[in-house]
């Protein structure tokens, strides 16, 4: 989550699922936890019953989460920053912040450089030509020692707190209501409920998911709430936190292991073209503390990097060759994300594509563009347990997939793989738990594991390079591959690789051997940058030690029933369950909420029910901040240069919006967003497409998978859209009748669900209708054939992460007689 890291230091859900029960207030906004995560949502219900908690839901639709909420308010899709900035304004105006926490654990007191500014929707340093910021002014004023200057009174006009006050002053309740369409009284009531949790012993938890990320300002949506939580003192405490509810079973794991274009395992990053040498690379990754005494744990980057390269290339990575630095590919652009990939395909810049358990034909924006892109490939390899639309993109399925097979020259390989029930391995859940699972049965037919297939491709490639030679074979020929069965490595072996081992005897300062060469490491603290250790994913170090597979632990003991279960499986980092848990105690080390302490200072060390996310014997008097990954040691209200569109969140309209940005009409949408020219040409205007559409999951289905499962197909058999009664009446759309929903990019024909759960919102004085588009249908599987919501969605992503803007775009709707060819 590239939105939490800039604020707290790590991009992951801060607390555990069960810890939600400790909350006094649960705010579900930017997500629909009851539908998308029912079993996690049980802890919200538990909070209500056991802890008397209130549940507040802010959503364009009255969702199933709203159906059990204590308070619900509607909001126009894509305006969450305005809403939450209004909340921040309310908290500051009404002195409803946890002052001591904010002073000690956030950067509110730090002084920002002269030159920083914000005017007419733009921060200082904007380059209109490039559509990017030059971010040097978004930083602190440093003293002689290179530490940021501080004003604990917050009176300095350039203290972060003063700047924040000024920044949010525009978000009055009137303005919030004007932008969001949320009635003022409802907005204010929610502000009051949130404000109550500024008490040190009260906690609010924020549960969110793709409802916030899938916007062109997605990362900033989340950051705004992260700031609210910092102001309320709700980070690091029981029942608090920013709980990013990840959508897929191991998407946290895939992100942890760095399967993103610019990432390496453990949140290290690949070099850029500008980082010509290893020294250049390391120079930008020194993470020198910006306040005295701070941990700034990323200072150990080189240890992680060297250990990783040793794991990859073994003896071939040496100090002399800079640990094989040049064997890593360098990036000439920030990201080669999926939107970029399909842009490249459409321009004939790609020849091959491998889809492993991923179905972009349905899952990515603008299905027409995806199909055109795939059609231009020379070859496509799909690896999946199921018959995906992607693997059949070339097949004519009628209006839902009007492909001209004869004209498509792509070679397609459809490779059958095992599923979860047919393999061993670990998955990382949203709360960062690594849980091992066991094979229950053999795969059907000739299906093989992804490990076997990837190994098969690798071996054949390596063999070709050995026999034929070819371009730059070094990393291929030198890749470590010392598995018992080279054609099918055991998951157990790979897990141990990630944990890491000593390559030579490791000694402590006294000279005593702590680890013999070849032994598994106990944790990342043992990693070194001299090549004597290796670890495939440093944050996982500790998951499989000499004591065995920690991920397979099954002791559910839960001290004080507080929702930690520290002996169940294993959590990164270092089995810490609640991130930043040092912040659960005050500066002196006493818990803010004595009823639910997590860790506290006993005079000699930190004790409690969780592993301290902190030096275990670091005295409170040393003033080490609780956000140990941050160079300041504190949480960032002001994000410095970590976000592309500004250090403070600002409301920008979605790329397709029915309204004008009333705050700054000249800067309508995110000024730092990346839009490809052809995609911009495919944006619709409100005059042609007057209604706001938003796509989402239904609880009965999981993405495009469960339409292959009979039971789920029975539970929600057919594609439909949700239309409010007012709009349906206006358009003459009857309950359950056929409608055509059009965007600039295409149309879907499906059934209409006319509902009371979506009501028109008054935005800037005008009624605004929202249409809900559930996403689960396609042309393979057990459910009725459908188009898929992404026929409609725009190909534009969040400016930081390129997460597509699925949650707010424009459509039109009309009543029709039925599907047509």
């Amino acid at each position: 989550m590239a939105s939490l890291a800039p604020t707290f230091g790590r991009g992951a859900m801060t607390n555990t699922w069960q810890d939600i029960k400790n909350a006094n207030l649960v705010v579900v906004m930017g997500g629909n936890a009851a539908e998308a995560h029912p079993c996690g949502f049980k802890w919200v219900i538990e909070a209500k019953i056991e802890n008397g908690a209130k549940l507040v839901v802010v959503d364009p639709r009255f969702t199933r989460t709203a159906s059990v909420a204590d308070y619900y308010a509607p909001i126009r899709p894509g305006t969450d920053i305005a809403f939450l900035s209004g909340v921040i304004r309310y908290l500051l105006e009404n002195e409803k912040i946890q002052r001591e926490y904010v002073r000690a654990y956030t950067n509110a007191s730090l002084i920002v450089k002269e030159g920083y500014g914000f005017e007419d929707g733009l921060f200082s340093g904007y380059d209109h030509e490039k559509g990017q910021y030059e971010k040097s002014t978004w930083d602190y004023e440093l003293d002689e020692q290179g530490f940021a200057k501080v004003d604990d009174t917050w009176e300095h006009p350039r203290s972060v707190m003063a700047l924040l006050r000024k920044h949010v002053a525009r978000y009055t309740p009137e303005m919030v209501s004007r932008i969001c369409g949320t009635p003022q009284d409802k907005f204010l009531h929610i502000c009051e409920l949130i404000a109550e949790t500024s008490a040190p012993d009260k906690a609010m938890t924020s549960l969110f998911a793709l409802g916030w990320t899938q916007h062109s300002v997605g990362s900033q949506n989340i950051r705004t709430m992260a700031m609210v939580q910092l102001l309320l003192g709700n980070i690091g405490v029981a029942g608090g936190g920013m709980n990013a509810l990840r959508g897929h079973s191991n998407i946290q794991g895939l992100t942890d292991v760095g399967l993103l274009s610019n990432q390496m395992p453990g949140y290290m990053t690949l070099p850029k073209d500008s980082e010509v040498t290893f020294d250049d690379y390391m120079k930008t990754r020194q993470f020198k503390p910006l306040r005295p005494n701070q941990t700034s744990y990323w200072q150990n980057y080189k240890k992680f990097f060297v250990s990783f390269q040793k794991s990859m290339f073994g003896d071939a990575a040496t100090a002399e060759n800079n640990w094989a630095y040049d064997w890593l590919p360098k990036l000439d652009v920030p990201l080669y994300d999926i939107i970029k990939a399909f842009e490249m395909m459409n321009h004939g810049q790609m020849n091959g594509y491998i889809c492993q358990g991923f179905n972009p034909q349905q899952a990515f924006p603008d299905r027409g563009k995806i199909r055109r892109g795939l059609s231009k490939l020379k070859f496509l390899v799909t690896m999946d347990p199921l018959d995906t639309e992607t693997s059949r993109f070339w097949e004519n399925f009628g209006p839902q997939n009007p492909a001209d097979s004869a004209a498509i020259q792509t070679e397609v390989f459809q490779l059958p793989t095992t599923c979860f029930a047919e393999e061993n391995g670990s998955l990382v859940n949203s709360a960062r738990w690594l849980q091992w699972h066991w094979k229950a049965a053999d795969a059907p037919g000739q299906a093989m594991s992804d490990i076997w297939i990837m190994s098969g491709i690798f071996h054949r490639m390596r063999e070709l390079y050995r026999t034929e030679g070819g371009v730059f074979p070094d990393p291929i020929l030198n890749l470590t591959w010392n598995y018992t069965d080279p054609t099918d490595p055991d998951p157990e072996e790979l897990a141990k690789d990630m944990n890491g081992r000593a390559r030579a005897d490791l000694t402590d300062p006294s000279g005593a051997v702590v680890k013999k060469g070849g032994q598994l490491l106990d944790g990342f603290a043992q990693l070194s940058d001299d090549g004597t250790t290796e670890s495939g994913c440093w944050i996982f170090s500790g998951c499989w030690t000499d004591k065995g597979n920690q991920m397979a632990r099954r002791d559910a003991t839960d001290p004080r029933d507080q929702g930690i279960a520290p002996q169940w499986a294993w959590a990164w980092p270092a089995n810490r369950r609640i991130l930043y848990n040092r912040a659960s105690a005050d500066v002196a080390g006493n818990p803010w909420n004595p009823a639910k302490p997590i860790i506290q200072w006993d005079g000699a060390k930190w004790i409690g029910i969780d592993v301290p996310d902190y030096g275990p014997t670091v005295k409170p008097s040393e003033s080490v901040g609780p956000f140990i990954m941050n160079v300041e040691g504190v949480g960032r209200l002001f994000a410095r240069d970590q976000m592309v569109e500004g250090p403070f969140p600002e409301h920008y309209e979605p790329l397709e919006s029915p309204a004008i940005n009333v705050l700054h009409p000249k800067v309508q949408s995110n000024p730092a967003v990346r839009v490809f020219a052809d995609d911009r040409a495919d944006f619709g205007t409100p005059s042609e497409f007057p209604y706001v559409a938003t796509t989402y999951r239904l609880t009965e289905h999981f993405h495009y998978w469960t339409k292959h499962a009979r039971i789920n197909a029975i539970l929600q058999p057919q594609e439909f859209v949700e239309i409010g009664e007012a709009l349906a009446q206006e358009k003459g759309i009857a309950q359950g009748s056929w409608v055509r929903v059009r965007s600039k990019r295409g149309f879907i024909v499906c059934k209409a669900y006319v509902t009371k759960r979506i009501k028109p919102l008054t935005v800037d004085g005008k009624p605004t209708h929202v249409i809900g588009v559930p996403l689960h249908w396609g042309f393979t599987g057990q459910a009725r054939k459908g188009y898929g919501a992404n026929t409609l969605t725009p190909s534009v992503g969040d400016a930081n992460t390129q997460t597509p803007e699925f949650k707010a775009f424009l459509v039109n709707v009309e009543s029709v007689n039925g599907p047509e060819a």
Partner: protein, 315 residues
């Protein structure tokens, strides 16, 4: 079924003897459906289908989240969704898990003509025993909640068994186990009633003044109960009967009419017999034959041969 001891039953359909009360039945079970915690995710439906190996046809979207549209032999439980605007004008999405209520006084069992096709175990579960079911559909008429459905494939009646197989193996029913939010709980009827009381207190504190437990006395209570936010208006929950009871038509049919009918038939037979004994047969007399022959002869028609008596016949 045959190897269950009779004490394990409270009631058996179409029997004329009541099982003896050899055991105390304190441990009656109940499923408590807390509608106020339910998120309508249909996990219960999925778990029910999976556990009981039921798969309906894949249907169509018909302008409702209720899928399938109704209970059927493959759908023993079904979420029913109602968008309700309360008097304050606020929207409530009322979601009720529909299915067998396992009545203490089961209308289906009362109506059933097939011995042992419907039983009520000592723990209160009302179960359909397919091998004894004749598919007549009387249970459908007997049920005050419109639950049983007759299969067109095997002509047997189906409904929720409260997972009697799982309960017998000391497991909770599949739907109960699955329910993510704990909106479905299972335990002894007393515990469930107590727990419902706790829930009602909580709900009243959250502004639901009419919150309450639905355990309708009209059927002597049920082994599936609801906690409702608006217990004063059960029917807003997709037509949950306000005051369910076995239809008086069915009561009369399965009650008074049975002895009345057999009695009157018996009376008819006995009356005939008494008449036979007292009055005897009405036989044609020789005078009748003579008079008749006389008339026949007067018209020149043949008469019976006196040597062959055709008057003698046995009935």
């Amino acid at each position: 079924m045959s190897n269950l001891q009779s004490q394990d039953y409270i009631r058996i359909s179409a029997t004329t003897v009541t099982p003896p009360a050899a055991r105390s039945w304190e441990d009656q079970v109940a499923k408590l459906i807390d509608v106020t915690r339910c998120i309508g995710c249909k996990a219960c439906q999925a778990a029910c289908m999976e556990w009981n190996n039921l798969r309906d046809e894949v249907g169509f979207f018909e302008g409702t989240y209720d899928n399938p549209l109704d209970l059927d032999p493959h759908t023993w439980t079904l979420m029913r969704f109602t968008e309700y605007e309360n008097p304050k004008g606020d929207l409530e999405w009322l979601i009720r898990k529909d299915g067998c209520m396992h009545c203490e006084d089961p209308g289906c069992l009362n109506a059933c003509p097939a011995p042992g096709a419907i039983v009520q175990y000592a723990n209160g579960i009302v179960d359909f025993i397919s091998e004894n079911c004749i598919g007549c559909g009387y249970c459908v008429k007997g049920c005050p909640f419109n639950i049983p459905r007759i299969s067109q494939a095997d002509h047997k009646s189906y409904k929720c068994t409260l997972c009697s197989d799982r309960v017998a193996a000391s497991l909770e029913p599949a739907c109960v186990k699955a329910c993510p939010t704990g909106a479905i709980m299972f335990g002894s009827k007393k515990d469930m009633t107590d727990w419902a009381g706790e829930r009602v207190i909580d709900l009243k504190s959250r502004g639901f003044e009419n919150a309450g437990l639905y355990d309708p006395p009209g059927v002597d209570g049920t082994h599936v109960m609801y906690v409702l936010h608006h217990a004063d208006k059960p029917s807003i929950y997709a037509g949950l009967p306000d005051q369910p009871k076995i239809s008086s038509t069915v009561e009369f049919w399965k009650g008074l009419l049975k002895p009345l009918a057999l009695g009157s038939i018996a009376f008819g037979v006995v009356a005939g017999f008494v008449h036979w004994i007292t009055a005897g047969p009405n036989e044609v007399q020789p005078e009748d034959e003579a008079e008749a022959n006389h008339l026949l002869a007067s018209k020149g028609r043949p008469t019976a041969d006196p040597s062959r008596s055709i008057a003698e016949e046995t009935p």
